[in-house]
């Protein structure tokens, strides 16, 4: 990697007292600045142990950990931790402190003056999508999803370069989890933190990780690469098995419609002669035609309606599902198989971009 290293683990091992096998054995891991790396693997693979060795909630038995070039093991643990954001699954908000006080935790430990802290807290509440009105409430008055937003805000409070997250969205319900994941991805792109993210959920690891580290029992690193690369070429049978079925679909989830080759399809402008519409239908061998007006997609009309009437006078029906260039190919596939016409129409800001069909999507998978 040419990218400069933010967190580097060198031959790190952890043997818990009384355990026969090491929890983590001779692990080398290099995490670039601003990179989001997911640690994923079955239970007992040492992913949480690895994470906790970075902020020394667990002391390594041997090896070296460098954070931004500094030896993490040479610092006082509490000093080290104040420069590393930490988010855990059970959130662990302080029940006796208000939301505002919770977020202000690390700035207060660092001795910031109160006006600076207050300013930062107000800023963060908005960053994580909560309202200022919540600052004076107690954690028990918030929903699980809201609490985890506070957890993230608290971890970001002192603007640490590194964020450690231990299954942060594992305890919220699936709908909230999905939203938090998407929001977090956007947030991460904006803030550019170096994030180590532990999860047991392969899909989450694929969705969020710039790279994913797949660990096997005993802290053995099986593969460490970009999710697309791992899905395309699992290093071994363990990785293949761990990724589970539907590898192709999972890859599709990572690719966007904008990256795919789209066709124009049976789509004509309303100002065109109706003959153009008939030609388009016979060329595409379909019995419907899409209509655009100065690039804007109006909808579609049934082939039987196309006679000599000017196209502009027909009443097109809207497409039930349209996609944007940002949509994943997986959602495009879903649109194709659920649409009557077996196509997914791609529209950005109302402007028609093209369409994808099964064949086109299949080509993207095999590429």
């Amino acid at each position: 990697m040419t990218r400069d290293s933010m967190i580097r683990l060198e031959k790190v091992s952890k043997v818990f007292p009384g355990a026969e096998m090491p929890a983590v054995a001779d692990l080398d891991l290099d995490i670039g600045r601003g990179e989001l790396v997911t640690l994923v693997g079955p239970s007992g693979c040492g992913k949480t142990t690895t994470l906790k060795m970075i902020n020394r909630l667990i002391e390594p038995s041997s090896g070296t950990i460098l954070i931004d070039g500094r030896d993490a093991l040479a610092l006082a643990p509490h000093e080290l931790r104040r420069s590393i954001g930490y988010v855990i699954q059970q959130i662990g908000l302080f029940p006796h402190r208000t939301i505002g006080q919770n977020i202000a935790t690390v700035p207060e430990l660092l001795g910031w003056d109160s006006s600076r802290t207050e300013e930062r807290v107000t800023e963060l509440v908005e960053v994580v999508g909560l309202s200022k009105g919540m600052l004076n409430r107690y954690p028990s008055e918030l929903s699980g999803g809201q609490q985890q937003r506070v957890g993230v805000a608290r971890a970001l409070a002192a603007d640490p370069p590194v964020l450690l997250m231990d299954e942060p969205f594992g305890a919220v319900d699936p709908i909230v989890r999905k939203r938090l994941q998407q929001e977090f991805r956007v947030l991460q792109q904006r803030l550019g933190k170096t994030v180590v993210f532990v999860t047991h959920d392969v899909d989450e690891a694929i969705l969020l990780g710039d790279r994913m580290a797949i660990l096997n029992v005993g802290g053995v690193l099986e593969q460490y690469d970009r999710p697309e690369a791992i899905l395309a070429e699992p290093a071994n049978a363990f990785v293949d098995d761990f990724l589970g079925g539907e590898r192709g679909l999972k890859r599709l989830a990572l690719l966007t419609v904008g990256e795919a080759d789209m066709r124009w399809g049976p789509v004509v402008d309303v100002k065109d002669d109706p003959e153009e519409a008939r030609k388009a239908m016979s060329r595409e061998q379909v019995d419907w035609v899409g209509l655009v007006d100065e690039g804007r997609l109006l909808g579609w009309v049934d082939g039987t309606q196309v006679d000599d009437t000017p196209l502009a006078e027909l009443e097109p029906r809207p497409f039930l599902v349209t996609l944007s260039g940002e949509s994943s190919l997986r959602s495009a596939l879903d649109a194709v198989v659920t649409s009557h016409a077996r196509v997914a129409m791609v529209v950005d800001d109302g402007i028609y971009k093209g369409m994808l069909d099964l064949e086109g999507i299949a080509e993207e998978i095999t590429e």
Binding site: H78, R81, I88, Q90, I91, G92, F94, P95, R154
Partner: protein
């Protein structure tokens, strides 16, 4: 006795009026013996709890010894202490304090043990030192349970203070003992009623204090 009861009214209001000064003095005595004993008990219990939490194996011997103290009848304990410290307030405070220990230590340890693990993990992860975590996380979060212990210890102590009348102290117990010796019902009733009232007032005061100090626990507390 039946005759005596019929001869004098149950409550001699005139006696109460004449003895207001004594009642105020005894109130102060009762209150200060309670406060000093419970306060001292809290300090000692806090120290022993820290030891018990730090070195788990000590918890069982600590509760065993304080439990043993708790079982000694108060009269016997006062008597046992006479050859050592004499017949005085020190004697009373040592005995009364020793009775608070079991309750306070148990509640301190249970309260601190009850602090959720994730809260402690988050506190460690944020960079709290062990000492700061204890005073800023564990103690405030254990407060409802600690105060529950203080309530029991205080009410128990208010009751036991009356027994120190045998040492020439007793707070309201002074009236009870005198009343029993002279079959004077007013004095007994004054002693008992005020003692119960004091216990109630202090108990309610602690409930109020707990609400004030732990507004976050209002719903559960």
């Amino acid at each position: 006795m039946m005759l005596a009861q019929e001869a004098t009214p149950l409550i001699d209001w005139e006696w109460i009026g004449r003895n207001m000064g004594e009642i105020v003095d005894r109130t102060w005595q009762h209150l200060s013996l309670t406060a000093v004993s419970v306060g001292l008990g809290l300090v000692i219990s806090l120290g022993l709890s820290v030891v018990a939490l730090r070195w788990r194996w000590t918890y069982s011997p600590i509760t065993w010894v304080t439990g043993l103290l708790y079982t000694i009848p108060s009269l016997a304990l006062f008597a046992l202490l006479v050859p050592i410290v004499g017949l005085n307030a020190t004697n009373a405070v040592i005995a009364l304090t020793s009775y608070t220990l079991l309750i306070l230590i148990r509640n301190l340890v249970a309260g601190i043990d009850g602090v959720p693990g994730p809260v402690l993990e988050a506190a460690d992860g944020m960079g709290y030192t062990r000492r700061a975590r204890f005073w800023q996380m564990e103690i405030p979060l254990a407060l409802p349970v600690i105060i529950a212990g203080l309530r029991i210890a205080t009410v128990t102590t208010v009751g036991l203070v009356t027994v120190t009348a045998v040492l020439g102290l007793g707070g309201y117990g002074y009236f009870i003992l005198r009343g029993l010796n002279t079959f004077f019902w007013t004095q007994i009733l004054v002693g008992v009623t005020l003692s119960v009232a004091l216990a109630t007032v202090l108990d309610v005061g602690f409930v109020w204090l707990q609400r004030l100090l732990s507004p976050w626990a209002r719903r559960t507390g």
